[in-house]
Subunit: 104 residues, 2 copies
DNA sequence: ACGTTATGTACCTTGACGGGTACGTAACGG
DNA sequence: CCGTTACGTACCCGTCAAGGTACATAACGT
Protein backbone atom coordinates (compact mmCIF):
# COMPACT_ATOMS: atom_id res chain seq x y z
CA UNK A 1 0.00 0.00 0.00
CA UNK A 2 2.95 2.19 0.66
CA UNK A 3 3.74 2.24 -3.03
CA UNK A 4 0.37 3.83 -3.71
CA UNK A 5 0.93 6.76 -1.39
CA UNK A 6 2.44 9.05 -3.94
CA UNK A 7 0.52 11.06 -6.49
CA UNK A 8 3.06 10.45 -9.24
CA UNK A 9 2.90 6.72 -8.64
CA UNK A 10 -0.84 6.69 -9.14
CA UNK A 11 -0.48 8.75 -12.29
CA UNK A 12 1.91 6.15 -13.63
CA UNK A 13 -0.48 3.37 -12.72
CA UNK A 14 -3.37 5.18 -14.33
CA UNK A 15 -1.35 5.54 -17.49
CA UNK A 16 -0.31 1.90 -17.48
CA UNK A 17 -3.92 0.90 -17.01
CA UNK A 18 -4.40 2.18 -20.56
CA UNK A 19 -1.64 -0.03 -21.84
CA UNK A 20 2.13 -0.65 -21.67
CA UNK A 21 4.47 2.31 -22.02
CA UNK A 22 8.17 3.02 -22.00
CA UNK A 23 9.87 4.85 -19.16
CA UNK A 24 10.30 7.92 -21.33
CA UNK A 25 6.66 8.00 -22.34
CA UNK A 26 5.62 7.77 -18.73
CA UNK A 27 8.05 10.52 -17.78
CA UNK A 28 6.47 12.80 -20.36
CA UNK A 29 3.19 12.55 -18.48
CA UNK A 30 4.63 13.72 -15.19
CA UNK A 31 5.73 17.19 -14.16
CA UNK A 32 8.93 15.81 -12.66
CA UNK A 33 12.23 15.04 -14.32
CA UNK A 34 12.92 11.68 -15.90
CA UNK A 35 15.21 10.26 -13.23
CA UNK A 36 12.47 10.76 -10.70
CA UNK A 37 10.16 8.66 -12.80
CA UNK A 38 12.80 5.96 -13.01
CA UNK A 39 12.88 5.87 -9.23
CA UNK A 40 9.11 5.64 -9.02
CA UNK A 41 9.18 2.81 -11.50
CA UNK A 42 11.73 1.03 -9.41
CA UNK A 43 9.52 1.23 -6.36
CA UNK A 44 6.53 0.01 -8.32
CA UNK A 45 8.61 -2.80 -9.75
CA UNK A 46 9.89 -3.88 -6.36
CA UNK A 47 6.36 -3.69 -5.03
CA UNK A 48 5.40 -6.08 -7.80
CA UNK A 49 2.89 -3.64 -9.26
CA UNK A 50 4.57 -3.34 -12.64
CA UNK A 51 6.92 -5.40 -14.76
CA UNK A 52 9.43 -4.51 -17.44
CA UNK A 53 10.55 -6.03 -20.67
CA UNK A 54 13.51 -4.81 -22.61
CA UNK A 55 12.78 -3.84 -26.19
CA UNK A 56 15.84 -2.51 -27.96
CA UNK A 57 17.00 0.39 -25.80
CA UNK A 58 13.52 1.02 -24.53
CA UNK A 59 12.23 -0.44 -21.32
CA UNK A 60 8.54 -1.11 -21.65
CA UNK A 61 6.56 -1.19 -18.44
CA UNK A 62 3.24 -2.89 -18.00
CA UNK A 63 0.80 -3.29 -15.18
CA UNK A 64 0.75 -6.30 -12.93
CA UNK A 65 -2.60 -5.69 -11.31
CA UNK A 66 -2.65 -8.79 -9.15
CA UNK A 67 -1.23 -7.04 -6.07
CA UNK A 68 -4.01 -4.47 -6.19
CA UNK A 69 -6.30 -7.35 -5.45
CA UNK A 70 -4.83 -7.27 -1.96
CA UNK A 71 -5.90 -3.69 -1.47
CA UNK A 72 -9.26 -4.68 -2.83
CA UNK A 73 -9.43 -7.45 -0.30
CA UNK A 74 -8.55 -5.04 2.50
CA UNK A 75 -11.32 -2.76 1.36
CA UNK A 76 -13.63 -5.73 1.29
CA UNK A 77 -13.68 -5.67 5.06
CA UNK A 78 -15.32 -2.26 4.87
CA UNK A 79 -17.49 -2.75 1.83
CA UNK A 80 -20.27 -4.55 3.68
CA UNK A 81 -19.99 -1.95 6.41
CA UNK A 82 -20.41 1.07 4.22
CA UNK A 83 -23.16 -0.50 2.20
CA UNK A 84 -25.18 -1.12 5.32
CA UNK A 85 -24.26 2.36 6.45
CA UNK A 86 -25.47 3.93 3.27
CA UNK A 87 -28.70 2.00 3.57
CA UNK A 88 -29.05 3.30 7.11
CA UNK A 89 -28.43 6.80 5.82
CA UNK A 90 -31.28 6.49 3.37
CA UNK A 91 -33.80 5.46 5.98
CA UNK A 92 -32.37 8.12 8.27
CA UNK A 93 -32.96 10.77 5.67
CA UNK A 94 -36.56 9.62 5.31
CA UNK A 95 -37.01 9.68 9.07
CA UNK A 96 -35.42 13.12 9.27
CA UNK A 97 -37.91 14.49 6.78
CA UNK A 98 -40.85 13.24 8.81
CA UNK A 99 -39.45 14.71 12.02
CA UNK A 100 -38.64 18.04 10.48
CA UNK A 101 -42.23 18.32 9.38
CA UNK A 102 -43.62 17.83 12.90
CA UNK A 103 -41.16 19.35 15.40
CA UNK A 104 -38.25 21.79 14.80
CA UNK B 1 -6.17 8.47 0.11
CA UNK B 2 -3.45 10.32 1.88
CA UNK B 3 -5.10 9.58 5.20
CA UNK B 4 -4.65 5.88 4.55
CA UNK B 5 -0.92 6.11 4.02
CA UNK B 6 0.06 5.55 7.61
CA UNK B 7 0.24 2.18 9.27
CA UNK B 8 -1.17 3.47 12.53
CA UNK B 9 -4.12 4.98 10.73
CA UNK B 10 -5.05 1.67 9.18
CA UNK B 11 -4.71 -0.04 12.54
CA UNK B 12 -7.18 2.43 13.96
CA UNK B 13 -9.55 1.86 11.07
CA UNK B 14 -9.27 -1.89 11.45
CA UNK B 15 -10.13 -1.55 15.11
CA UNK B 16 -13.07 0.73 14.41
CA UNK B 17 -14.33 -1.74 11.83
CA UNK B 18 -15.02 -4.01 14.80
CA UNK B 19 -17.04 -1.31 16.49
CA UNK B 20 -16.82 2.12 18.11
CA UNK B 21 -14.05 2.79 20.58
CA UNK B 22 -12.77 5.63 22.72
CA UNK B 23 -9.54 7.45 21.99
CA UNK B 24 -7.87 5.77 24.95
CA UNK B 25 -8.93 2.31 23.88
CA UNK B 26 -7.57 2.94 20.42
CA UNK B 27 -4.33 4.26 21.86
CA UNK B 28 -3.88 1.05 23.81
CA UNK B 29 -3.76 -0.84 20.54
CA UNK B 30 -0.93 1.20 19.10
CA UNK B 31 2.75 1.19 20.00
CA UNK B 32 2.84 4.96 20.04
CA UNK B 33 1.95 7.39 22.81
CA UNK B 34 -1.57 8.62 23.30
CA UNK B 35 -1.13 12.13 21.93
CA UNK B 36 0.02 10.66 18.68
CA UNK B 37 -3.19 8.71 18.43
CA UNK B 38 -5.18 11.86 19.07
CA UNK B 39 -3.45 13.45 16.13
CA UNK B 40 -4.17 10.47 13.91
CA UNK B 41 -7.79 10.63 14.93
CA UNK B 42 -7.88 14.26 14.03
CA UNK B 43 -6.62 13.53 10.55
CA UNK B 44 -9.12 10.74 10.11
CA UNK B 45 -11.86 13.00 11.36
CA UNK B 46 -10.92 15.81 9.00
CA UNK B 47 -10.72 13.30 6.18
CA UNK B 48 -14.28 12.32 7.06
CA UNK B 49 -13.32 8.73 7.72
CA UNK B 50 -14.41 8.70 11.35
CA UNK B 51 -16.78 10.64 13.55
CA UNK B 52 -16.89 11.33 17.27
CA UNK B 53 -19.55 11.60 19.87
CA UNK B 54 -18.91 12.86 23.35
CA UNK B 55 -19.91 10.47 26.10
CA UNK B 56 -19.08 11.82 29.54
CA UNK B 57 -15.35 12.53 29.42
CA UNK B 58 -14.80 9.88 26.82
CA UNK B 59 -14.77 10.61 23.13
CA UNK B 60 -16.11 7.65 21.25
CA UNK B 61 -14.99 7.28 17.67
CA UNK B 62 -16.82 5.32 15.04
CA UNK B 63 -16.23 4.54 11.42
CA UNK B 64 -17.74 6.54 8.60
CA UNK B 65 -16.99 4.12 5.80
CA UNK B 66 -18.60 6.07 3.01
CA UNK B 67 -15.37 7.78 1.90
CA UNK B 68 -13.68 4.44 1.46
CA UNK B 69 -16.14 3.89 -1.34
CA UNK B 70 -14.07 6.41 -3.29
CA UNK B 71 -10.97 4.29 -2.97
CA UNK B 72 -13.07 1.34 -3.98
CA UNK B 73 -14.17 3.23 -7.03
CA UNK B 74 -10.58 4.03 -7.93
CA UNK B 75 -9.69 0.37 -7.62
CA UNK B 76 -12.65 -0.43 -9.82
CA UNK B 77 -10.67 0.81 -12.78
CA UNK B 78 -8.19 -1.99 -12.18
CA UNK B 79 -10.56 -4.69 -11.08
CA UNK B 80 -11.60 -5.66 -14.57
CA UNK B 81 -7.98 -5.51 -15.60
CA UNK B 82 -6.62 -7.83 -12.99
CA UNK B 83 -9.48 -10.25 -13.36
CA UNK B 84 -8.77 -10.60 -17.05
CA UNK B 85 -5.10 -10.81 -16.17
CA UNK B 86 -5.65 -13.60 -13.70
CA UNK B 87 -7.70 -15.44 -16.27
CA UNK B 88 -4.87 -15.00 -18.75
CA UNK B 89 -2.51 -16.36 -16.14
CA UNK B 90 -4.55 -19.50 -15.77
CA UNK B 91 -4.56 -20.26 -19.47
CA UNK B 92 -0.88 -19.32 -19.55
CA UNK B 93 -0.12 -21.85 -16.87
CA UNK B 94 -1.96 -24.51 -18.86
CA UNK B 95 -0.11 -23.55 -22.01
CA UNK B 96 3.19 -23.58 -20.14
CA UNK B 97 2.59 -27.12 -18.99
CA UNK B 98 2.01 -28.31 -22.53
CA UNK B 99 5.14 -26.59 -23.80
CA UNK B 100 7.30 -27.86 -21.02
CA UNK B 101 6.29 -31.35 -21.94
CA UNK B 102 7.38 -31.04 -25.58
CA UNK B 103 10.37 -28.70 -25.81
CA UNK B 104 12.61 -27.37 -22.98
C1' DA C 1 -14.51 23.56 45.11
C1' DC C 2 -10.92 19.94 44.12
C1' DG C 3 -8.72 16.04 42.51
C1' DT C 4 -9.06 12.68 38.84
C1' DT C 5 -9.98 10.91 34.35
C1' DA C 6 -9.90 11.34 29.49
C1' DT C 7 -8.50 13.75 25.84
C1' DG C 8 -6.75 17.38 22.76
C1' DT C 9 -2.95 20.81 21.46
C1' DA C 10 1.70 23.35 21.13
C1' DC C 11 6.29 22.81 20.36
C1' DC C 12 10.29 20.51 19.00
C1' DT C 13 13.18 16.79 16.88
C1' DT C 14 14.18 13.37 13.62
C1' DG C 15 13.78 10.38 9.75
C1' DA C 16 11.95 9.23 5.43
C1' DC C 17 10.93 10.48 0.91
C1' DG C 18 10.40 13.26 -3.38
C1' DG C 19 12.92 15.81 -6.49
C1' DG C 20 16.96 17.81 -9.10
C1' DT C 21 21.64 17.40 -11.08
C1' DA C 22 25.42 14.91 -12.66
C1' DC C 23 27.09 10.76 -14.18
C1' DG C 24 27.31 5.74 -15.63
C1' DT C 25 25.78 2.32 -19.11
C1' DA C 26 23.56 -0.69 -22.35
C1' DA C 27 21.57 -1.08 -27.16
C1' DC C 28 21.21 0.58 -31.44
C1' DG C 29 22.53 3.19 -36.37
C1' DG C 30 26.02 4.70 -39.29
C1' DC D 1 34.22 2.11 -33.46
C1' DC D 2 31.59 6.38 -32.28
C1' DG D 3 27.81 9.21 -31.48
C1' DT D 4 23.11 8.94 -30.01
C1' DT D 5 19.20 7.26 -27.64
C1' DA D 6 16.99 5.64 -23.57
C1' DC D 7 17.57 4.43 -19.44
C1' DG D 8 19.14 3.72 -14.53
C1' DT D 9 21.91 5.17 -10.29
C1' DA D 10 24.62 8.09 -6.86
C1' DC D 11 24.63 12.01 -4.31
C1' DC D 12 22.66 15.96 -2.25
C1' DC D 13 19.00 18.94 -0.40
C1' DG D 14 14.48 20.60 1.25
C1' DT D 15 10.19 19.41 3.08
C1' DC D 16 6.94 17.24 5.70
C1' DA D 17 4.83 14.34 8.77
C1' DA D 18 5.11 11.04 12.75
C1' DG D 19 6.29 10.80 17.30
C1' DG D 20 7.56 12.31 22.11
C1' DT D 21 7.15 15.60 25.99
C1' DA D 22 4.90 19.03 28.38
C1' DC D 23 0.87 21.53 29.00
C1' DA D 24 -4.13 23.00 28.53
C1' DT D 25 -8.98 21.74 29.03
C1' DA D 26 -13.40 19.66 29.89
C1' DA D 27 -16.47 16.40 32.36
C1' DC D 28 -17.05 13.67 36.37
C1' DG D 29 -17.23 11.98 41.43
C1' DT D 30 -17.00 13.48 46.13
Amino acid sequence: MHALADESRRTVLNALAEGPASAGELAALLPIARPGVSRHLRVLREAGLVEVRQQAQRRVYSLRPEPLAEVDEWLGRYRALWEQRLDALHTEVARGKRERRSSR
